[in-house]
Assembly symmetry: C2
Homo-oligomer: 348 residues x 2
């Protein structure tokens, strides 16, 4: 492995990445599901092209700003999987997008789309399948669909993010919750006059358990994986495609300090996490403290002062959103270059 | 208060900011300490000019990249308060900087500056005063100073970051640890041949307790304050100058969802935090769940769907590092504009 000398920086192993893309594509294909990857994870048109080449049906984004970046890069089927508040400024931007791409947006209330002219975007009703964030109960989706249809909107289907899959051992059961909500809501939509509703689910931990009666799946993290997926058991360390190359800048009897902190790794730390990230090449090491430019590491054998190690961020989506570029390597060091994180910071 | 309609976005109340700058300047002045603000918090030359106008003696930065941005903006006295590993690439950049500014860098080992030509930067030896991150024990500083001097380096003094001040009720005692370490090390440096060592301390929580025998103080967060400072009791809510204006995009019987998530607020959550940030105008509200674009809020009285609220990030340094611009308002809405976060993402 070719370690970069300018640290800290995010580095993608393109061989591992390509294998991750193909494995998820195959997993969806064998279940008869379309794969609509969530590109909030990588925010990079270069990477999304590899996902489309592997059979993705379209892309999922989180914000209008992300949709604008991917539309400008030539992607033509985008779902903004978020309950957008469509004020005048949002409507104007959605109208420009709709002239370029097939566009769907999330919705969980009549009020949020009250100012949206009919037909600008297809609406996907968001369901709460157990994560208790945005989204309505599946049993009320038919009623909301009827009201949206009566106001002239186009309703395409229902979606949910089964985020409660981010707990050890939860994914299989969560996939049952997800399918139950989507199938229940589908009955309601048919009664309301949507004959063939699209059923969209997805998270990376639940992909392996996705129900084959759904229409499409929207995982994001799977392209890179991260310490959360490693610790949840969703991936092996060998399937982690993105690391932060970091330098040991300070060494003590009981610890070393790396030059990678929360401003490059992100500060995510789930309740089940063993620390603020992991060292890819030393599973016994623990990141016991993280500040903006320091990771304090304990390990049975501490790395040498001045050496470079590979840190796996806990949550790769937030790490990527801190970087302007992702640097590329492969195990032979024969490929090089970088991808622009084109939609970095596009929060609105 | 003029709430912006494009959400989420970081907004600075310039009247509160100016009062924060003046209060810290006065606090340092009455103790006879120079104030060398840490600009990692705001990364903005526009804001640093206000700090210098209020009497700051110079600036503290965390990385060579931050130093380059502030040197280019005309600031001429910079301390990189970090134990830099000075490989060839770093040396070349430090030499360019040293041609423009008075430059000091952190150091906690002979090895880290082995490749640094003599006199490029003055060295500040880092001490561990109880935070247990980088830095050496105060009692060994004289020995390290002697070795650095013998290799031809210039040793200017000692510094410490008393980060263990980030715990409820800890700041006063931590300021004693800080002063003890710096004064102890000063004796060692004098014996090693540094007649008048600079003693540099600082964190925002400990500022009010800083020992007047130190030379300078390096707080950063005080310009904006944040939910951590609020919950530690370092500031009142009225002294919080930066908030994220966020929209209620989803409303349920037990919760609302805001369009501000970890990609605009950062994911910091200290052990003492009540949640993933606070609502400035509703101290009883709690942010009980945070994902990339969602904050789930519970409150005795939930805000209306579509309304805009002001969210206080837990750790403002990481929130600012996610934004390209800080938008300005004052309570009358008479000032406008924005400041560029010029050193955003400059991690190396």
């Amino acid at each position: 492995m070719n370690l970069v000398s300018t640290t800290p920086r995010l580095v993608v192993d393109v061989d591992v990445l390509q294998a991750n893309i193909e494995r998820a594509a195959e997993s969806a294909r064998t279940r008869g599901l379309a794969l609509r990857p969530h590109v909030k994870t990588h925010k990079s048109p270069d990477l999304a092209r590899l996902q489309l080449a592997a059979g993705a049906s379209g892309l999922t984004v989180a914000t209008i700003g992300e949709a604008e970046v991917f539309a400008a890069a030539g992607f033509d089927d985008l779902f903004i999987a978020y309950p957008l508040w469509t004020d005048d400024a949002a409507v104007a931007r959605l109208q420009r997008l709709a002239a370029q791409v097939r566009l769907a947006i999330g919705c969980d209330s009549v009020q949020s789309v009250a100012e949206l002219p009919s037909g600008v975007a297809e609406l996907m009703i968001e369901l709460d399948s157990g994560h208790h964030r945005s989204g309505i109960a599946a049993g009320t989706a038919g009623e909301l669909a009827a009201r949206l249809l009566a106001s002239g909107q186009v309703v395409r289907g229902v979606f949910t993010f089964p985020g409660h899959s981010y707990a050890p051992g939860a994914a299989a059961e969560v996939a049952v919750d997800e399918a139950s909500a989507l199938l229940d809501a589908a009955d309601g939509l048919r009664s309301a006059g949507v004959p063939d509703p699209l059923l969209s689910g997805g998270s990376t931990p639940s992909l392996a358990f996705a129900d084959d009666r759904l229409s499409e799946y929207r995982p994001g993290v799977y392209v890179f994986n991260d310490a959360q997926q490693w610790e949840l058991g969703t991936c092996t360390p060998e399937q982690i495609a993105l690391t932060c190359h970091a330098r040991v800048v300070s060494r003590h009897a009981d610890r070393v300090v790396l030059d990678a902190g929360s401003k490059v790794l992100g500060a995510d730390r789930a309740l089940y996490a063993t620390g603020a990230g992991r060292l890819l090449d030393d599973p016994d090491a623990r990141i016991v403290q993280l500040s903006e430019h320091h990771a304090v590491v304990t390990a049975p054998v501490l790395p040498a002062l001045g050496s470079i190690v590979r840190v796996v961020p806990n949550h790769v989506c937030n790490a990527v959103n801190l970087a302007d570029r992702l640097h590329l390597v492969d195990p032979d060091g024969s490929r090089a270059g970088s991808w622009v994180v084109a939609a970095r910071g596009r929060n609105s």
